[in-house]
Symmetry: D2
Subunit: 144 residues, 4 copies
């Protein structure tokens, strides 16, 4: 199964060039990541609280921008995560405009490592993240 959801482009996300500020494109991707966690049954207020025992900081990110986004556009974000090793995973995002046919807007990637919030040392991915990975992971995938 693929996680896919539509997101509105807000005025706050635009800049004086009239289009979405590049770094805010990554914030849109993170919103989709949050929704994919919630859709797999995870409790966001618990995952993303300062008191959470585990955290998933991003250690690497990439984004390719194919087309500008404007306030009022709706962008469809499709993502799938995959495990990298015992304590890390990455997520691939495809962004497209909700037109017919859809037009590719951007592609992005975030790489996360699971750490103990207190010691900030690597920690094996817990069962709930394993579950989320299986829920949205593309079968037989082989992207770069």
């Amino acid at each position: 199964m693929l996680f896919s959801q539509r997101y509105p482009v807000r005025f706050r996300d635009t800049d004086a060039a009239g289009v979405v500020y590049f770094a805010h494109g990554l914030a849109l991707c993170h919103a989709a990541y949050e929704d994919s966690l919630q859709a797999a049954g995870l409790d966001l207020p618990v995952c993303f609280s300062p008191a959470a025992p585990l955290a998933y900081p991003i250690i690497h990110t990439t984004m390719d921008y194919h087309r500008p986004l404007h306030c009022g556009d709706w962008v469809v974000i499709t993502l799938h995560p995959r495990q990298r090793d015992e304590s890390s995973f990455e997520i691939v995002y495809h962004l497209s405009l909700e037109t017919s046919p859809p037009r590719a807007v951007a592609d992005a990637l975030t790489r996360h490592v699971c750490i103990d919030s207190r010691t900030r040392r690597r920690h094996p991915l817990p069962a709930e993240i394993q579950h989320w990975l299986q829920r949205w992971e593309a079968p037989g995938e082989s992207e770069t």
Copy 2:
């Protein structure tokens, strides 16, 4: 009729105190303003483009925070606009948590003036904004 819609609280909106950063509360209100325009038939990419002949800059804003918001919360924003004079309007926002019973989270106000984008001089509110005002304006209202 009242404009009312639910909004997710994103991780990007939180700060190191674990709750929503105060100024981002106003960005949530602005999102509801955008949606109320769109729901009244206005074309956002046209309204909020650098090339738009008219603009509606905010000249005053107030926000009262009653309760913190956390990542993963859903907040219901209810708004109603009202005309102030020939070229300005204001919007009152109520934010509450989607709990039962709902709990008040914040109240806010934004005051906007219509200007000619080129000269930046005041301009009477155009028909489409008048229409939006009538669509969501509370009948017989008398708030401060």
Copy 3:
């Protein structure tokens, strides 16, 4: 003594209308608040960490915008705090453009309450905040 410092307006703070997005004006004020704390000897990483025993959430804010700000502008922010009661204070901000003569850009106010981070109950202002208040408080002041 008055706290006063100059701040650059960044591209990220602008929106598709070509000027600073209204809510980001408050973020500029908060930056000046942070610098005024640091200039009074407070340790920011400690004050604003999730583990800090006390927090100072904003319960009310107001901003009046007199003139638009553009990317590349430098804005001078002058602030002074004042105590309201045993556990709260407010800060008044004046923003002006670094031109000669300076031109008023905006005025803002933030009202903070000191709370115990764990219980989220009101807590008397600690000595270091008292010190910061005395350092920047205007003598014999009587603003609204």
Copy 4:
């Protein structure tokens, strides 16, 4: 010559994990890019206005995060740009903590293409950008 400048980490840049939100790291880099343009004599309000005839949208970005940043930290950003072809350039950023010895915090890259703002077609880099490239470009460089 190398462009290098120190930047404060603001509370607005942190998230509920207590550290800088990943996408805001790229906004810090963009601030350094803006300052490097200004230091080479370019007029930012002109470069980054909706009315500017040329624009430099980012078509690709990468960031590697080695260490978390906290509110109150000062980060030194060193950057150097290099031309890619007639109408594009990229910028490499190194971020380190102002400690002794300095500790590497992150590395980033942004790739920009020069376009005509009206037609959004590629346009050769103008003289002022060539000048900026020469001002900060590393001699004999060969990074990836």
